[in-house]
């Protein structure tokens, strides 16, 4: 399953689709604060279940989303094992649960909202800060590119992994990480050139 699905808007007519992008962004910010502030493994488990329910309610198929999140879930598992070793299982469940819940909530936003609308909402929300030197258009574009970068980086990671496996270097972290870092930086530069050439942000 393509990791790109994580960033893709899925047209629909659910309650969440009908809400304004600004409202959903604000709700996501508030929800993120609550998830991070609330402590304990039980609250983390509740947040994961609630976020998953919200995602299903938005029309996304949970199984497809989880398969698209495979790479992230592997990293979460590693993080969970480390945290369990360092701070015990309750803390591990809390950290991994919060992380997964936040990703599911963010995915709910991207599934129910076209990126164009997210950009408009960010630009609209930041307009009062123009007098402080903030360029709302640039921040809106950066926000969209950030959303786009997550699945794009996961795709590059999968390609780097395949290349390492093809060379018999599947156990070498260097063979996976070095090309990944180089390609992510190169992709960022190419994207910058492309935006520059298209006059976006001029």
């Amino acid at each position: 399953m393509n990791a790109d699905l994580l960033g893709i808007h899925r047209p629909g007519d659910t309650f969440l689709h009908r809400q304004r992008a600004g409202t959903k962004l604000l709700a996501l910010m508030l929800a993120s604060v609550v998830v991070v502030v609330a402590s304990g493994p039980m609250s983390a488990v509740v947040f994961v279940i609630a976020a998953a329910a919200l995602l299903v309610w938005s029309g996304a198929r949970l199984g497809v989303t989880l398969r698209a999140m495979r790479g992230l879930l592997v990293m979460a598992a590693v993080l969970g094992a480390w945290t369990a070793w360092q701070s015990g299982w309750p803390r591990s469940v809390e950290v991994v649960g919060d992380l997964v819940a936040l990703v599911l909530l963010a995915t709910t936003l991207t599934v129910t909202t076209p990126v164009d609308e997210v950009m408009d909402a960010v630009v609209h929300g930041l307009r009062p800060f123009r007098r402080l030197g903030v360029d709302p258009e640039s921040v809106g574009l950066a926000f969209s590119l950030m959303l786009r970068a997550i699945p794009s980086t996961l795709s590059l990671a999968a390609e780097a992994r395949d290349a390492a496996v093809a060379r018999g270097l599947e156990r070498s972290p260097r063979a996976r990480l070095t090309p990944l870092v180089i390609r992510v930086v190169a992709r960022a530069r190419e994207t910058g050139d492309a935006l520059h050439a298209r006059g976006v942000g001029d």
């Binding site: 808007h9 047209p11 164009d116 258009e137 969209s144 590119l145 050139d193 935006l195 298209r198 001029d202």
Partner: protein, 229 residues
């Protein structure tokens, strides 16, 4: 037709061993409808092409488009000169085809409904009707390059610079994109290793070691390149 000229342009790139010249004191006037840049890898073709859009600025000399100095009036020049890259994956920055074209239209279409309708119209013009909600990564190589072209031409530039736009494509898509490029009403500056495509242009320049080695009718320049490659 836009008037493009290079006046004594030199480009040097910094390296650990000092500045390396990649284009030497080049002066040109590009007035033909379809112009091809051919030459070996690393010869300076892409640098020459990137000068026209301001992606590279001259170390010395000037590049003028319709009398505008590219280094001083980059924003105005980029509205006149569109640029298509070899790898459309780097150029397509939005998740879906419609959103990517709409990104180009943000400057000219402030209203969102108008913008999305205009994006759909552009997609239809390029044979991509019905692709609006498709992920850009779910498209084939040919479809991606078509979409990259659509995103650039949506703002109706008067010049299109294309840097090896058919290199990553199979034979069928390469012909399809090549035919489309040569039929555009815009002035075209085409960097290519496809010598059949280059020969169909009005003029060609053979770039080698950072210098224009041959400049003339496309078929003559291509023959010269074939003989010396």
């Amino acid at each position: 037709m836009s008037a493009i000229s290079l006046e004594q342009v030199t480009v040097r790139f910094p390296t650990h061993d000092g500045d390396v010249p990649v284009l030497h004191e080049t002066s040109l006037s590009l007035t033909e409808q379809r112009i091809a840049l051919v030459g070996p890898n690393g010869s300076g073709k892409s640098t020459l092409a990137r000068l026209l859009n301001g992606l590279v600025t001259p170390t010395t000399g000037r590049v003028l488009v319709d009398g505008l100095d590219v280094a001083r009036s980059g924003r105005e020049v980029r509205r006149r000169v569109g640029f298509v890259f070899t790898d459309p994956a780097a150029q397509l920055v939005m998740p879906t085809a419609r959103e990517d074209v709409a990104l180009s239209l943000r400057r000219t279409h402030r209203d969102k409904v108008d913008r999305l309708a205009a994006a759909d119209a552009v997609l239809a013009d390029f044979g991509l009707a019905g692709f609006g909600d498709r992920s850009v990564h779910g498209l084939s190589g040919g479809e991606r390059q078509l979409l990259a072209l659509a995103g650039v031409l949506a703002t109706a530039p008067s010049v299109l610079v294309a840097d090896e736009p058919t290199t990553l494509l199979d034979l069928g898509n390469s012909r399809r994109i090549g035919d489309l490029l040569l039929a555009l009403p815009q002035q075209l500056v085409l960097v290519t290793h496809d010598l059949e495509l280059a020969a169909r242009c009005d003029r060609a320049l053979l770039v080698r070691n950072g210098r224009i080695e041959h400049d003339g009718a496309a078929e003559d320049v291509v023959s010269s390149y074939r003989a010396t490659a």
